[in-house]
Amino acid sequence: MTSSPAEPALELRAAAAERSGRRVLGPIDLRVERGDALLLAGPNGSGKTTLLLLLVGLIRASSGSVRVLGTSLGSAEWRRARRKVGYVNQASVDTTLPISALEVAAIGLAGAMVPPQLRRERLRRAMQSAGCLHLEHRLYRELSGGEKQRVDIARCLAQEPELLLLDEPSAALDPSAKEALGALLGALHDGGLTIVAVSHETGSLPSWPVASLSRGLLEPARLG
């Protein structure tokens, strides 16, 4: 890893993004230090998901700069560093695929060369930390929303991430599942993980600082 721990986990400077030729985000400035957590709130269409896609590298900034874990988006260093960025987005997943929870967690290691023994250990540890080891042989598509979130987080933990990005993690969860998810994310953050979660409802998530997006522009962060 070429990123320096002294650099922030995320740093956006006058970053903007376009979709279908229309500006949908920015310009925004945002800095998230390592070990911090941030909730990005805002109504539908405010640019939350676009911002997350930008941070994952799935879309490019039309202007400005984006640095993730001390690397510039698109650079050779970033291509290596992005394996340390966990990304949870259930909306992009094929939920009809016959794939077990263990297989989903193992996807976190699909982009890396990991010896089989170490692979098994990391998967077991990740599923244990996410509280879903007992689900390992269940089909992902047959799990509840909360169980799927835990498996997706286990997939990210298998990557041994430095940064966790979540898109609407509490959407479609019942109140008890939301509470359990909030506790899990709180524990991961307490363990030192940097977390940025995008959500249109922040009440069920831990009391982290909240930054609001409105029409693609960022409003100042406040305590949640």
């Binding site: 590298g57 394996r83 990304y87 016959p98 996807i107 699909a110 982009g111």
Partner: protein, 270 residues
Amino acid sequence: MLEALQYAPIARALVVLLVAGAVFPLTGVFVLRLNLVTLRFTLMHGTMLAAAVALALGMDQIILAAGLNIALVALISLFGRKGEQSGFGTGTLTTFLMVTTIGAAFVVIYRFNVPAKDTLSILWGSLFALTPRDAYVTAGFAAATLIFFLASYRKLKALLFSHDVAFSVGIDATALHRALLALVGLTVALAVRLVGALLLDALLLLPAIVAGFHARSTRQLFLISALVGVLSALVGFFLSLGLDIPASSAVTMTAALLLGIGFLTKRRGT
């Protein structure tokens, strides 16, 4: 019936059909799961255009079809996404090419007076007219496909789950997707030569659909697809010999029957 296998073209047809039945459905899983069915039509029409040109000019059908399909995939990959903003994106471009290639194929057939019987061979395939070279090409392609699958299995599984997630764990998901498109193009080019344009789905898609009814893991998805493909090929081949009906039709009807059985016996919730 077995004595017919003493004849080299018939034995060759069986071997090629079994190899194709085992390997082509693996590619079919991706055609179904990654929503490439429209692309598959375009590639099928591209193969028909190549076959028409090959018949008209006395050229090699497989090489022409493979080349044209790779060109079509390259066009769609390179210009599809760029065209999204102008309203001429991947879907529109794929449909445009699907229509123009089949139109061009019939122009070639008409202008070069390709005999009706030869034209029908594009639709029905020419299993018993396969040359030893066709058999080697099929075997080599099947081996290459298997190597690609085994070498990229974990990455392919991630891509099936989610393109975005695959990208986020460090996989070059776009390149892998393009490689799969090329594989589909080559598979269709070969399958048309074997069972014809109208019946290639018997080897490509039907086994993958049956597998979707019963699989409890991605490994089972691929294994059941291959198993149904081989069974369709084997039973269809001997039905063809026993009932004196075209092999491609017999294979298709067998695959369709297996799909019916698969549907009736499928697990709840699949």
